[in-house]
Subunit: 662 residues, 2 copies
């Protein structure tokens, strides 16, 4: 069906229904359709519309507001929806290579519908799939075909019950037996059980299992990935020697089945080793394709960066939904006012603006950043694929790794704090499950943890920066740049001072991380996000009508982020006197006030259709109370008497009757 | 059964099982039993033990780890448990008057078991009960008896669908009809439906309903409370004219049934008016017992303060549980280390100490503060009861109200942030539902919202302080005191400046709140908490062996809280140069490091028994992995194949089969 950009219900960007949000929409300084086109491009908008419409028109994806799904039922539904995505085949493998950003868009669209669905799909086709693709060789290509036909279902088994971040301490073993040309995969005890593995709980038939590789003579060659079949695809029953199960309910993402597995001397063919990094000959000799460890390590970093960049994207989609809900609510919820008779929308209060608008700016800045980092990573990947092993390539890999390691914490924390602020800014109604802010918060939460705890990842970035300092790389000045330079110098000095006073390298780094390394890594990634977004909105190609609003978003994100470092700016002497701090604070508030009339239109650009957003208080028509009241009365049993009513009416307590038992 | 303070399993403070936490317990600088006795006193410890043991020995309170309770089932269970509390009658009404702090302790104990239970019990017996007691008169005493016999079940119906914070805009009406000597309770439309009312969803038979009182001639006398029967206690079916129902699933506290009600010209006898503030004669004349509005208002503030102080207590209990779980986890979880062979407990890392120990200090400081504020409030209440209407009494009322209004935000936010930090600090295992950090976070969340959004309550405190300034009250100097004075002066000047430049009072206050009023109110209440705790730990009666650890806790909470205002200290000129900020930061880190060996023992003081704490990773024996692994295998269906396995094994997708539908 052909659709046009403007006008009509079938348009690419249809008009919003008239209602209480009209007043703000009319006051916007720009056209939301123009900004949507500028930000996404027509092709991407069409791609999103295709996905969203397919889900909305398919009963399998019907929303059931307030439904009390059991864990079992939710997982079944999530699996069926994941299978259906293969039937739609929104993005063929060829399209992925043609337009890689669509991968991010597909994940964002599925995630906006339900994070569990995005996670299940992502783990099977991208995490499991690309682990095989990038770590395996030609003999493993058959698995890739089976993945995209869903003949097998995959998971990625790295972490163990007692080890997460410290992957070097992983204890699962893979001993090579030349007699049968097999590896023997074994978990020495339950603390070495693979644990937390997404898709492993109920569905995966195959796992990429990381284990320590031993060749005859008990020589260990470190962690290597193996493909291990854990369930029979015909029955979904465990394979012999594999004890596999579900780790149970989590704080969120309960459509996803996270699991555990213990291996009791499970034999797999020699070919199960994903052998890009190193291989074992039939006789049992270990051969590595890398000459030095650094190169090997650099190549591994690339694949870690993919996951981190995807998480940035997953985090932001949650923030988009939450901010859309909270701002539409704020533009229609009226409370207090200049006189007792007149109540004003809560968005008119400087407090509400200050609570929400910086997060709106953060969405635009971080979304741009995640796309640009994704493209950097593509470039890196293409270099690797074409065999480029130059120094520049290695440096690019390390820079991207440093940015990915710090932007994952920045995005997941900004989202975590932002959703909480949105929840509170919607008052009690924000605490009602049907309004979805809770699910968004719960589903975002693991973004702070997986692929490495945020605080630990920041250490990788500060270490990278310290390494740069040793090579005399310098950057220019401006508040943020000054801050990064200041913190870099301070961290370096503090580290040396600790070492001079007798601390080991391990101790010294730990002692410096809270006060120095952590703020350094955060300031650095914020500077990069700010810089890239600033450049983006000041390009000559930006339509003149959008320049003002984009400029304000960019300034608000930059100044708001900077203001959280005000104490350090004073401490290091970049700020002095009362005025500097005041000016920064007033600038943030002034920008909030300038953006408030644009807030609803800015939300219109990022919000998915109502069906996807799925929040009565956040619907595009702004009919806050009608939508909420309607949804509540539609819930099953809302007006019904409790089934256990005789427990009150008949079975009366005898007060104090059990006191003698105390 | 007699129990002794020391020794034996039946002791008041039994020994902990031996295990991996022993190393830290042995390194503690003090005896946890001595500190427990000093903090709580023997009588209170015994009271807690009685409650905890009763719950642990009663199968109705059995824990079902990882259970997937339906909303209906959870509510039934919570109601049955609430009824059982009446059978135990832990605290008779006479005991409450004798030892009022036991009320807080009872709520904390029930809340530690399950917040929904505490809330259900609290709303019925204390919120509903004390609303009748304090707003009604002798003719209403019969209700109090029925409450404590559970013949009726109560709720407190103030907020409406479209109005929460702005209670003056509540729209439910109560017109007096002299012909029948009845009030006609009426909801003009669904936006005026009572909404969010705890216990109203399924169980309440009676509600204290706030409505605008009209006497003949259509004269309005403002909001008044009425007792309205909403359901028949014999059937739990709604009364004629009342449309009452459940608002559905919330982010947390789902054992509690929050509800809504619309009244269609419901007639209640004249005597239903809770008439302490004002009454209506049979003929329809309004009579007030207060001479001036200010006095009236002051009396109302007292009852608001009760709820806020209770919320401080509810928040802290959640933080106690979360910090206990996270610190025991941190003392037993090992990750990385100085060499590849040796892994150290994560509590040894300065980062982990900095993340968690300030919250441990905050628990001790805020817990002390909440008790002391509760006692202040008791004093105020006794004055009111004895008819004291002096100026001092009114001033005390306003001061307590200001402290309660700011300590509720401080405690609920500290807890919100603290639980999130605990969740992240436990990594993936913190994200597993059975470890309980999610429930604690969810159950704490409404503390940020009910009884007034935190940001709005802070406004009441900053307004109070500005009022004091007008009366020339001054305070002495020291960093915090300076900060409060500085912010007070700045706020006052900024407010005047806004007014001089033409802003109305309403506008001016809104413009100053983010930058001035908010930090002022927070700094003020933090100063008070810090001061009270400092005095408490420096009393002559503190046992010498506890002085060091208590002094460190007090210093850590003070400096950590202060450090969050470092930018303002610089900006106002109290700090200058690099050193000031550095010293503050190093002092916090040094205190963290000094407290780490005491952390486990400090947790032992505040943690309830394992049954109550209910977290495999937080058990007192420190057997982190054994407990977690055991709990996972005990879950139903952990190892079972999914019931829907043929959906994978048999019903295979045809890839792209639905593509034509797009």
């Amino acid at each position: 069906m052909a659709s046009t950009v403007e006008g009509g219900d079938t348009a690419l960007l249809p008009e919003f229904p008239r209602g209480p949000l009209d007043a703000y929409r009319a006051r916007a300084s720009f056209s939301w359709k123009e900004l949507a086109l500028f930000t996404e491009g027509e092709d991407m908008l069409r791609f999103k519309k295709t996905i969203f419409s397919a889900l909305e028109n398919d009963p399998l994806f019907a929303r059931s507001p307030g439904a009390d799904l059991s864990l079992e039922k939710y997982r079944e539904l999530n699996f069926l929806r994941c299978r259906r995505i293969f039937e739609y085949d929104f993005l063929s493998v060829e399209d992925m290579f043609k337009s890689p950003l669509k991968v991010l868009t597909l994940i964002q669209c599925l995630g906006m519908y339900d994070c569990s669905l995005a996670a299940k799909y992502l783990i099977h086709s991208l995490v499991f799939g690309s682990a095989i693709y990038s770590s395996g060789s030609e003999r493993h290509l058959t698995y890739i075909q089976k993945i995209f036909r869903m003949e097998i279902f995959g998971c990625f088994a790295l972490t163990e019950l007692s080890h997460g971040s410290n992957t070097k301490a992983i204890r699962t073993t893979a001993h090579y037996d030349p007699a049968t040309e097999e590896f023997i995969i074994h978990s020495p005890d339950f603390e070495a059980a693979k644990f937390w593995v997404g898709n492993m709980g109920k569905t995966a038939t195959h796992a990429v299992v990381f284990a320590k590789l031993y060749v005859p003579g008990d020589q260990c060659h470190g962690l290597h990935p193996f493909i291990v079949q854990i369930r029979d695809p015909k029955t979904l029953l465990p394979m012999p020697g594999v004890m596999v199960g579900d780790i149970g309910k989590k704080l969120g993402q309960n459509g996803l089945d996270n699991g555990f597995a213990m291996f009791h001397k499970v034999r797999v063919p020699r070919q199960s080793l994903l052998n890009r990094m190193g291989d074992v000959t039939p006789e049992g000799t270990y051969v590595s394709s890398f000459k030095d460890v650094r190169q090997h390590f650099g190549a591994t970093l690339g694949s870690l960066s993919w996951s981190r960049v995807s998480i940035v994207s997953l985090a932001i989609l949650n923030l988009k939904l939450a901010v859309a809900i909270a701002l539409r609510f704020s533009a229609t919820r009226r409370q207090f006012g200049p006189t007792e008779e007149e109540e004003i929308p809560v968005l008119e209060y400087p407090m509400q603006q200050w609570r929400l608008l910086p997060y709106l700016a953060a969405i635009y800045a971080l979304d741009h950043f995640s796309k640009s980092l994704f493209l950097d990573l593509m470039e890196l990947q293409q270099g690797l694929a074409s065999g480029d092993r130059s120094t520049r390539q290695a440096e690019l890999g390390r820079e991207i790794h440093a940015l990915a390691s710090a932007s994952k914490p920045l995005a997941s924390w900004t989202t975590q704090q932002g959703i909480q602020e949105c929840r509170e800014a919607c008052g009690g109604h924000g605490y009602l499950a049907m309004n979805r802010l809770g699910v968004l918060r719960d589903d975002n939460d693991p973004n702070c943890t997986y692929e490495g705890d945020n605080n630990i990842l920041l250490q990788q970035t500060s270490n990278y920066l310290l390494g740069l300092l040793a090579h005399q790389v310098q950057v220019a000045l401006a508040a943020y740049k000054w801050l990064v330079c200041y913190l870099l110098r301070e961290t370096y000095q503090k580290l040396n001072q600790e070492k001079r006073s007798g601390s080991s390298d391990f101790e010294a780094r730990n002692k410096c991380q809270v006060s120095h390394g952590r703020p350094l890594a955060l300031a650095f990634v914020e500077l990069t996000v700010v810089q890239r977004f600033h450049e983006h909105v000041h390009q000559p190609c930006v339509p003149p009508s959008l320049r003002a609003v984009l400029g304000r978003l960019s300034a608000l994100y930059a100044l708001w982020s900077l203001s959280r470092h005000a104490a350090l700016l004073y401490r290091g002497g970049y700020f002095s006197g009362e005025q500097a701090g005041e000016v920064l604070e007033s600038a943030v508030l002034a920008l909030c006030s300038q953006l408030k009339d644009d807030a609803v239109a800015l939300v219109d650009v990022i919000a998915p259709p109502d069906f996807i957003l799925d929040s009565p208080i956040g619907r595009a028509d702004g009919e806050l109370y009608k939508n909420l009241w309607g949804a509540i009365l539609q819930e099953s049993k809302a007006l019904e008497r409790a089934s256990w009513w005789p427990e009150f009416s008949v079975n009366k307590p005898v007060i104090g009757s059990l006191k003698s038992k105390l």
